[in-house]
Amino acid sequence: MINFQHVRIRIYQLCFCACYAFALNLAPDHCSAVDTSTTAVEPVISDLSLQVSQNKLNVDFCLINAYDSEVEKILKSGAPLQIVYEIKCKTDGFLWDHEISSKQLVRNLYFDVIKGHYQVGFGFSTPRIINVKDFSEAAPLLFNITNTSLTSLDMLKDGRDYTVMVQATISRVSDIPLPFKPLVSIFSSWGITTDWNEISFRYKRTGIITKTP
C-alpha cells in the first residue's frame, strides 16, 4: 500500500535538501534559529541526525528560522514563547506504521522586562528554569537539541528499516485575563507548526545506516 503522506514528505525533503544545500553555501552558521532575512521564511527542522550512544538511539537537530521580529515583539511584550518538539521513531507496517517510540520536548522562553533577562524553561509542568542575560544565550537552549535519547537499541530489530520524524510547534502562551480568551486564541493566527522532517535508517548490530540526510 502506498503511503501518500510519506511520498509527500519525501518530496518536501527533496525540496528542503535542495534549499538547505543552497542555504549552506550562503550562511556560515547552518543552525541559525534567527531569521535575518526580510522575507518571511517558514521555520524548519534541520540538521536531523542520529547517533548511537550507550545502547541508545540519540537524535540531534535544530530549529531554524524560528525567531523573527514578530517573535521578538511577542517576547518583549512579556508573552511566553513555547516550542514543542515532537519526535517519533517508527517502522513501516503492512497496513499502518508501527510507532517504536515517541517523545515530546518542551522549551519555554520568557523575557522579564523588569529584570531584563530571559528565562528558559524545560518541560511542561514545574519546568527547570535557566536565566540568561540575552537571547544569544537562550537561542541554543531553545533551538539546538542534541543527544536526545529516543529509544533503546533493544527496541530495534536487526536489518530493519526505521524512520525518525521530528516536528516543531511554536506558539505563544499567554496567561493574561483576556476576554473570551479561547475565542481570541482561535482568531489569533499566531501559531506555527513545521513540516515533519524525517530520516530513515537501517539498523544493524554494527551500527545504523542512514538512508536520507
Binding site: 511584550s77 522586562v113 485575563p177 473570551f180 482561535i186
Partner: protein, 752 residues
C-alpha cells in the same frame, strides 16, 4: 366524533420533528460550545490550528448552527410561499413575523452598532499612548531600581569575594571555614577597610564549592528555610566563563536578589563561589511585580488587539444573529399559535356550513384562542344536538305526515269508493271536495270540479233549488238539513237522499257546506219489488181460491143447463159459460204467474255448464221456432258456474220468450257466451232482430207488471231480474246495439 387539530397529521409530525431537531441542535450547540471552550482553554502547548478535535467540534457546531439557520430560513420561505398562495392565515402570520423581525431587528441592530462603537472607543482608550508611556516609565523606574540593587549587591559581592580570597583562601585554593566564621562575626562593621559592608548590607551570604554545594552560609531572611538553590548550569557558567550572575528569586514575603561571583585563589583560579543576597520586601517586590504584570498585560493586549476586536465583534454578531433568529423563530411560533386556531376555526366553520358537525377541534393551553376553540366546540356540540333534535322532530313530522297522508289517502279512497256522494263547498261557494260518486252523478270528473263554483256545476233549476236550501240552512240555525231529491241523469231518474251540513271550525266559524247524498234508486227498486211480491202473493192467495169454484160452477152450468136452452139462448148461454171458464183459466194463469213471482225460492246452487244449458234452452224452441233462427256462440273453454239450473233456465227462457214475441214474422236470435277472464265474469248476450226497446220503456223494463206487449203480465223480466239478483249477477239492456235489443245476463265467476 372525530377530533380535528386544524393541521394534517403529516404536518403535525413534521413540526414535532422540527421542534425536536431545534431542541437537540440547540442543546448540542450549547454542549459543543462548552466543550470547545473547555478544549481551547486546556489546549496546552499545542496550537489551536492543529487541534483536530477542537476543529471537529467547531465544525459540528457550525453545522448545527447552519441547521438551525436552515430551519428558520425554511420557515420564512414557507411563510412567504403561503402568503403568495393566499393561504388562510398566511397574511396574518406574515404580519406577526414581520412585526417580530422588525421589533427585534431594530433594537438589536441598534444595540449591535452602539456596542460596536463602544468597543472601538473602549479599545482606543485601552491602548491609549499615555497609558503606554506611563507603563514604560514605570518599567524603566523598576528596571532602574532593580539594576541599582543588582549592581550594589554585585559590588558588595565582589568586595567580599576579594576579602575572602585574601584572608580565607590558602595557596592550594582551599577555603578556610573557621576563617569565614571569624570573619563574619557579629560585629556591626565586618571590615575596617570596607566600612560600608555592614550586617545590613546583605541578607544572605553563601559560600559554594566548585561543585555548587553550599559549604558555609549566613542568612538573615524573614523565613525559616534556606534560600532557594541556584541552577547548577548557571553556577557552571560563572565557574566557566568568569561572568558574574545576578539572579532574583521569589521567596516568602518578598524577593531575594543574589549576585554570584567567583572567589579566586592566589593564582587567579576559582576557589569558590560567593553568593550574596539582598532581600527586597513585599512593599517593594510586589509593586515591581505589578508594574511588570501591567506592562506585560498591556503589551500582550496590544498584540491581541485585533483578535480581541475580531472576537468581540464576532461574538456580538453571533449574539445579535441569535437574538434575531430566536425572535424570528418565536415570531413564527407565536404567529402559528395565533393563526392556526383561526385557520382551524375557519375550516371548521366551512365544514359546519357544509353540514358536517361530527368533529371537534383540539384546544391546547388556557389562552383566549383556546377558550374560543372550546366555545366553538361547545357551539358545534349544541348545534349537533339541536340538529339531532330537529332531525328527530322532522322524522316524527314526516312520520306523522305520512300517517296523515296515508289516512288522507285512505279517506280519499274511501270517499271515492263509497256509493254515497260527498261534496264540500267552501264559504265562497267553491267546490273543495267531490268524490267519484258525486262527480258521476254530475257527469263530471272529480278533479275537474275542484275549485269551481257550485253554480257552474248545476243547471238553473238545480242552482235555484240549492240556493233555497242554502238559505234555509243558514236561516234555520240547525246546521243540518235533509232533502229527498229526484234527479234525472241520462234519462234515468235517480232518487237521492241529500244531507246538507254546515262545516264549522273550532271557534264555530262557518267554513262551508258539506253535501252527502245517498242513491236510493236501487233501494227503492228493491223495496218496490218486495212490495209487488207481497201484492202478488196476496192477489194470488185471494184470487186463486175463488177461481176454481167459479170455473167448476161455470162448467157445471154449462153441462147441466146447456140442454135446457136452445137456439140463440143456448148459444149465448154456452158462450157466456165458456167465457167464464176461459177467463177463469186466464185468471188462474195470471195468478200462477203472480204466485211464481212472489214465491221465487232460494236458489240451489250446483256447477252448471252454461253452454249446455243454453243449448238445452235452444232445443226447446227448435220444434216450434215460428220462423225464428237461433244462433249460438260460445268460447271453447268456459268455466262452470254455480247456479240453480232451473231458475237460470227460466230466466233465459223469459228473455228468449220476449225476443220471440217481438218477432212474430220471424227473425234471428243470437245467443253468445262471453268469458271476461279479467273481471272474472261470464256474460250471456241474447240479441234479437226485432224493433228494439223504446227509449221511454228502457227504464222500466225490469219493473213488475210493466209490459210493452199486449197480454203480457210484465213479470218475465222482473222474475229474470230477481233470479239474477239472487245469483249475485245482473241482467241489463245493452245500450244502442243495432236495430234489435240485446239483453246481457252477467254472472260472477267464483274461485271455488
Amino acid at each position: 366524533m372525530k377530533s380535528v387539530s386544524g393541521i394534517k397529521e403529516q404536518e403535525s409530525l413534521r413540526r414535532r420533528r422540527e421542534r425536536i431537531i431545534m431542541a437537540v441542535a440547540g442543546f448540542l450547540v450549547t454542549l459543543f460550545c462548552i466543550i470547545e471552550y473547555h478544549l481551547i482553554s486546556k489546549a496546552g502547548p499545542l496550537p489551536v490550528g492543529s487541534n483536530i478535535l477542537i476543529f471537529t467540534v467547531i465544525n459540528i457546531n457550525i453545522l448545527l448552527m447552519l441547521t438551525l439557520c436552515f430551519l428558520v430560513i425554511r420557515n420564512i420561505v414557507k411563510l412567504i410561499f403561503e402568503d403568495r398562495g393566499h393561504m388562510l392565515g398566511a397574511r396574518l402570520r406574515t404580519k406577526i413575523v414581520a412585526a417580530f423581525i422588525f421589533l427585534s431587528l431594530l433594537p438589536t441592530m441598534l444595540l449591535f452598532f452602539v456596542s460596536l462603537y463602544f468597543l472601538q472607543t473602549s479599545l482606543g482608550y485601552w491602548f491609549d499612548s499615555k497609558v503606554a508611556s506611563a507603563l514604560e516609565s514605570a518599567v524603566i523606574l523598576g528596571q532602574g531600581y532593580y539594576d541599582e540593587q543588582g549592581n550594589a549587591i554585585k559590588k558588595n559581592a565582589h568586595d567580599l569575594a576579594k576579602i575572602v580570597s585574601r584572608k580565607c583562601v590558602n595557596n592550594e585554593s582551599d577555603m578556610n571555614i573557621s576563617c569565614l566564621e571569624s570573619l563574619f562575626s557579629d560585629s556591626e562593621i565586618f571590615f575596617s577597610e570596607k566600612k560600608e559592608l555592614t550586617k545590613n548590607s546583605f541578607n544572605s551570604l553563601e559560600i559554594l564549592n566548585k561543585r555548587g554545594e553550599v559549604i558555609w552560609s549566613i542568612t538573615r531572611l524573614p523565613m525559616l528555610q534556606p534560600p532557594p538553590p541556584l541552577d547548577k548550569e548557571e553556577l557552571k557558567a560563572v565557574l566557566g566563563d568568569r561572568q558574574d550572575k545576578i539572579r532574583g528569586s521569589a521567596i516568602e514575603n518578598g524577593e531575594l536578589i543574589r549576585a554570584v561571583v567567583a572567589v579566586r585563589g592566589v593564582k587567579g583560579e576559582v576557589a569558590a563561589l560567593l553568593v550574596l543576597g539582598r532581600f527586597l520586601p513585599q512593599n517593594i517586590s510586589v509593586p515591581l511585580d505589578e508594574v511588570r504584570k501591567g506592562y506585560e498585560e498591556y503589551y500582550q493586549f496590544l498584540l491581541f488587539q485585533d483578535p480581541i476586536k475580531t472576537t468581540l465583534v464576532v461574538t456580538l454578531f453571533l449574539i445579535t444573529m441569535l437574538i434575531i433568529f430566536v425572535a424570528i423563530w418565536f415570531g413564527i411560533r407565536l404567529a402559528r399559535g395565533i393563526t392556526e386556531p383561526v385557520q382551524m376555526l375557519a375550516d371548521a366553520t366551512y365544514r359546519i356550513a357544509q353540514g358536517d358537525l361530527d368533529f371537534s377541534l383540539e384546544a391546547h393551553g388556557k389562552d383566549e384562542l383556546s377558550g374560543l376553540v372550546r366555545a366553538f366546540n361547545t357551539m358545534t356540540r349544541d348545534l349537533k344536538e339541536a340538529r339531532g333534535m330537529a332531525e328527530d322532530a322532522s322524522r316524527d313530522l314526516r312520520k306523522s305526515y305520512r300517517e296523515i297522508e296515508h289516512s288522507r289517502a285512505y279517506m280519499e279512497i274511501l270517499l271515492q269508493s263509497i256509493t254515497t256522494g260527498v261534496i264540500s263547498i267552501d264559504i265562497k261557494g267553491n267546490v273543495t271536495t267531490m268524490n267519484r260518486f258525486a262527480a258521476g252523478l254530475l257527469d263530471r270528473k272529480s278533479e275537474d270540479t275542484i275549485g269551481l263554483h257550485y253554480s257552474v256545476l248545476l243547471d238553473q233549476r238545480q242552482a235555484g233549488e240549492f240556493e233555497a236550501i242554502r238559505k234555509e240552512l243558514s236561516e234555520s240555525g240547525k246546521g243540518v238539513l235533509q232533502r229527498h231529491i229526484i234527479m234525472e241523469r241520462n234519462g234515468k231518474k235517480l232518487s237521492l237522499l241529500v244531507n246538507f251540513a254546515v262545516l264549522k271550525d273550532q271557534d264555530e266559524r262557518p267554513l262551508g257546506v258539506i253535501i252527502v247524498f245517498d242513491d236510493l234508486t236501487e233501494i227503492e227498486k228493491v223495496q218496490r219489488m218486495a212490495a209487488w211480491r207481497e201484492v202478488a202473493r196476496r192477489i194470488a192467495h185471494e184470487v186463486k181460491n175463488p177461481l176454481t169454484p167459479i170455473k167448476l160452477s161455470a162448467q157445471r152450468l154449462n153441462k147441466k143447463y146447456r140442454e135446457k136452452f136452445s137456439g140463440q139462448e143456448q148459444a149465448v148461454f154456452v158462450r157466456c159459460t165458456e167465457t167464464i171458464i176461459g177467463q177463469a183459466e186466464e185468471l188462474k194463469r195470471l195468478v200462477d204467474e203472480f204466485s211464481r213471482f212472489a214465491r221465487t225460492p232460494a236458489p240451489r246452487l250446483q256447477p252448471v255448464d252454461l253452454t249446455e244449458m243454453v243449448r238445452s234452452v235452444i232445443s226447446i224452441y227448435m220444434d216450434n221456432s215460428q220462423g225464428i233462427l237461433f244462433q249460438f256462440e260460445s268460447p271453447p273453454a268456459c268455466p262452470r258456474l254455480n247456479l240453480d239450473p232451473d231458475q237460470i233456465k227460466r230466466a233465459i227462457i223469459n228473455i228468449v220468450d220476449n225476443a220471440m214475441s217481438v218477432m212474430p214474422n220471424g227473425g234471428t236470435i243470437t245467443m253468445k257466451i262471453l268469458n271476461d277472464a279479467i273481471h272474472k265474469k261470464i256474460r250471456l248476450a241474447v240479441t234479437d232482430t226485432g224493433p228494439g226497446i223504446k227509449e221511454s220503456e228502457k227504464n222500466r223494463l225490469f219493473e213488475p207488471y210493466f209490459s210493452g206487449k199486449a197480454g203480457g203480465t210484465g213479470l218475465g223480466l222482473a222474475i229474470t231480474n230477481s233470479i239474477m239478483a239472487d245469483h249475485e249477477g245482473k241482467v241489463y239492456l245493452e245500450k244502442d246495439k243495432g236495430p234489435g235489443a240485446t239483453f246481457i245476463m252477467e254472472f260472477q265467476v267464483k274461485e271455488d
